[in-house]
C-alpha cells in the first residue's frame, strides 16, 4: 500500500475545524474589545461571549437562559483554560466551597484522568477522605462498591463519562442517582465524551461537567465547567471576577467563541457521524485482532466511545511501536511507562487488571470523522507489520 499520513490520535487532540477557526478569527484580530469594558467594542465582545455560553448551554441541555440576551442560566456555563482546569475547579472548588456542607468524603474511580486523580490526592493531604472505585476488566466502575461506600459524609462523586485510554462509557445516570440518594453531588469529566455521545445534563442528573475545546476540533487552552444552578464553588483563580468570579482573568473571547462553534458543529448530526466512525473503528478492531496473534482488545466492547480502539500486544513495548508507526505515517498513542519515563504503565491499564509486562505493549488508536476506510486499511497493514518487526527483535517472543 502507498504510504499515507493517518492521524489516529483524536483522543489526544484534534485538528481544529475550519468552522471553529473562522468563528475565532475576527475575535483574534479586529474585534479586540475587552468584555469588561463599557464602550461599544467591549460590549460587543461581552455579548459574543454570552452567545457562546448559550450555545454551549444548549448543546448540554443546561437550564433555559434567564433572558434572551444574557448569560445562559447565569453562571451555569463557566469558561476555563481547558479540561484540567475544569476538573480542578469542580473538585477542589466544590470541596473547599460551601456546597460541600462540611462533608469530607469524595468518591471517584481508579481510571480517572490525572486532573481528577491528582486533585483528589492533594485533597487527601488536606484531610479529605477519598475512595477510588475499582473497575472491572472492561473498565466499568464497580457499582456495588459505590453503593457500599456512599454515606452521609460523601460530598461528591466524580466519575468520568468515558475513559480516554480505553473508551469505556460509564453508567453516569445511575451513578448520579446513587450519589443523590445520600445528598451528594455528581461531577463527570466528559472531556472525552463530548462530541462522541449524547450528553444531557438534566436528563442524566449531572451537577457538574467538565469539557475541553480541543478534543472536539475547537481551540487548545479552552474548556468549560458546567455548574448547576445553586452550587457555589471556591474560585480556581482569584482576581477581577470574570466567569462568576471562579476563573478570573481577561476572557479569551476568541477561544470561547471557537469552542462554542466547534461544539455546535460536533453535536449536529452526532448520531450519523458517530455511526460512521463506529463502523470504521469496528473494521479496525476486527482487522487488527484477526491479523495479529497474541493481541488483546482493551475496554468495553459495547459501551465504548465510537472512535476508540485500544489494544495490547504481547512481547513488544509501546514507545517503539508508536515511533515506528510514526515512521510509516500513523499517529497513535500508548500507555506504556517507557513513553513517559515513569516506572509504571498507565494507571488505567493497571486498573483493568493487565499484568505489567503486557500493559507495556499497549496501543490506542482514536478515529474521527476525518478518517476514511483507506486510512483504516492502511493502519491495519502498518500495525501488523510493525508489531511483526518488533516481535522479531524481541527476546521474549517465541514464534
Amino acid at each position: 500500500m502507498e504510504k499515507r499520513f493517518v492521524y489516529a490520535d483524536n483522543a489526544a487532540t484534534t485538528p481544529m475545524s475550519e468552522t471553529a477557526f473562522n468563528a475565532m478569527k475576527p475575535w483574534l484580530t479586529e474585534n479586540y474589545g475587552n468584555p469588561s469594558s463599557l464602550y461599544r467594542i467591549g460590549r460587543a465582545a461581552k455579548e459574543a461571549l454570552n452567545d457562546a455560553r448559550t450555545v454551549v448551554g444548549k448543546c448540554l441541555n443546561a437550564a433555559e437562559p434567564v433572558n434572551e440576551k444574557n448569560d445562559y442560566a447565569p453562571g451555569e456555563i463557566v469558561f476555563t483554560g481547558g479540561g484540567s482546569q475544569a476538573d480542578n475547579l469542580a473538585i477542589r472548588g466544590f470541596m473547599h466551597g460551601p456546597s460541600s456542607k462540611g462533608r469530607k468524603h469524595i468518591i471517584t474511580s481508579k481510571i480517572e484522568h490525572h486532573a481528577v486523580l491528582y486533585t483528589c490526592e492533594a485533597l487527601e493531604k488536606e484531610g479529605y477522605r477519598v475512595t477510588y472505585l475499582n473497575v472491572d476488566k472492561e473498565g466499568r466502575v464497580d457499582l456495588e462498591q459505590l453503593k457500599a461506600e456512599l454515606s452521609e459524609d460523601t460530598a461528591l462523586v466524580s466519575v468520568m463519562a468515558a475513559n480516554n485510554e480505553i473508551g469505556t462509557i460509564q453508567p453516569i445516570k445511575q451513578i448520579a442517582e446513587l450519589a443523590h440518594s445520600v445528598g451528594a453531588k455528581f461531577h463527570t469529566d466528559a472531556v472525552q465524551a463530548v462530541g462522541h455521545m449524547h450528553i444531557d445534563v438534566q436528563e442524566m442528573g449531572i451537577d457538574m461537567l467538565s469539557l475541553s475545546g480541543h478534543k472536539f476540533r475547537g481551540p487548545r487552552g479552552t474548556g468549560v465547567l458546567y455548574v448547576k444552578k445553586g452550587i457555589t464553588l471556591e474560585p480556581l483563580v482569584y482576581g477581577g471576577g470574570q466567569e462568576r468570579g471562579l476563573v478570573s482573568g481577561t476572557e479569551n473571547t476568541a477561544g470561547c467563541i471557537g469552542l462554542a462553534a466547534a461544539m455546535k458543529e460536533t453535536v449536529e448530526g452526532l448520531d450519523e457521524k458517530m455511526g460512521y466512525v463506529k463502523k470504521l473503528t469496528d473494521k479496525l478492531v476486527k482487522g487488527i485482532m484477526e491479523n495479529i496473534p497474541y493481541s488483546h482488545y482493551t475496554g468495553d466492547p459495547v459501551n465504548r466511545l465510537p472512535g476508540t480502539a485500544s489494544f495490547v500486544f504481547e512481547a513488544i513495548e509501546g514507545e517503539g511501536l508508536i515511533l515506528r508507526l510514526d515512521n510509516a505515517g500513523v499517529c497513535g498513542s500508548t500507555g506504556s511507562a517507557c513513553s513517559t519515563g515513569s516506572l509504571d504503565p498507565s494507571h488505567v491499564l493497571m486498573a483493568i487488571g493487565l499484568p505489567h509486562e503486557i500493559a507495556h505493549g499497549s496501543l490506542r488508536l482514536t478515529l474521527g470523522e476525518q478518517n476514511t476506510e483507506e486510512d483504516v486499511d492502511y493502519i491495519i497493514e502498518t500495525v501488523t507489520d510493525v508489531v511483526k518487526t518488533l516481535r522479531s527483535m524481541s527476546p521474549v517472543w517465541e514464534n
Binding site: 460590549r43 461581552k46 455579548e47 440576551k69 444574557n70
Partner: protein
C-alpha cells in the same frame, strides 16, 4: 452589564435637562460620596398639573437615563399620577436595567417625591399626609 438601546438613547440625548428658574417644587436626593445626586425641578400649575419638569444628575449612565425617562413620564401629568410612578415603571419604560443598576432608578423616584413634597411644603401643606412621609428621611439620601 449591558444597557438597552433605550437607556443608551436617554443617556446620550437626555430629555428635560437643566433648571427651572421659577420652579415651585425642587427636590434633591442622593449624595456625592456614593456617586449619585439627582435634583428635580417642578413647575406645577394651580390645578396640580406638572407643566414643566427639569433635572440635573451627577451619576452613571443609568442614573441619567432614568432621570430623563422619569421626567418624560410625569410631564403633563397630575401630581397624584406622578406620585404613582415607581422606579420599576421607569426601568420598564427603558426596556429594563442591569440588576446592579436598579438602585439608580430608585433615585429618580425619590427625587420626584422629594420635589413634590417640597411643592406641598411651599403651599403650607404637610407632605406627609399626602405622600405618607416627607420624602426627606435617611432612606431617601442613601445611594441604594
Amino acid at each position: 452589564m449591558q444597557y438597552s438601546e433605550k437607556v443608551l438613547d436617554h443617556f446620550t440625548h437626555p430629555r428635560n435637562v437643566g433648571e427651572i428658574e421659577d420652579a415651585n417644587g425642587v427636590g434633591e436626593v442622593g449624595n456625592a460620596k456614593c456617586g449619585d445626586i439627582m435634583k428635580i425641578y417642578l413647575k406645577v400649575s394651580d390645578d396640580g398639573i406638572i407643566e414643566d419638569v427639569k433635572f440635573k444628575t451627577f451619576g452613571c449612565g443609568a442614573a441619567i437615563a432614568t432621570s430623563s425617562m422619569a421626567t418624560e413620564m410625569v410631564k403633563g401629568k397630575s401630581l397624584e399620577e406622578a406620585l404613582k410612578l415607581t422606579n420599576k415603571a421607569v426601568a420598564e419604560a427603558l426596556d429594563g436595567l442591569p440588576p446592579v443598576k436598579m438602585h439608580c432608578s430608585v433615585l429618580a423616584e425619590e427625587a420626584l417625591r422629594s420635589a413634590i413634597s417640597d411643592y406641598y411644603k411651599r403651599l403650607g401643606k404637610d407632605p406627609a399626609e399626602i405622600l405618607g412621609c416627607d420624602a426627606d428621611c435617611e432612606t431617601c439620601h442613601k445611594a441604594d
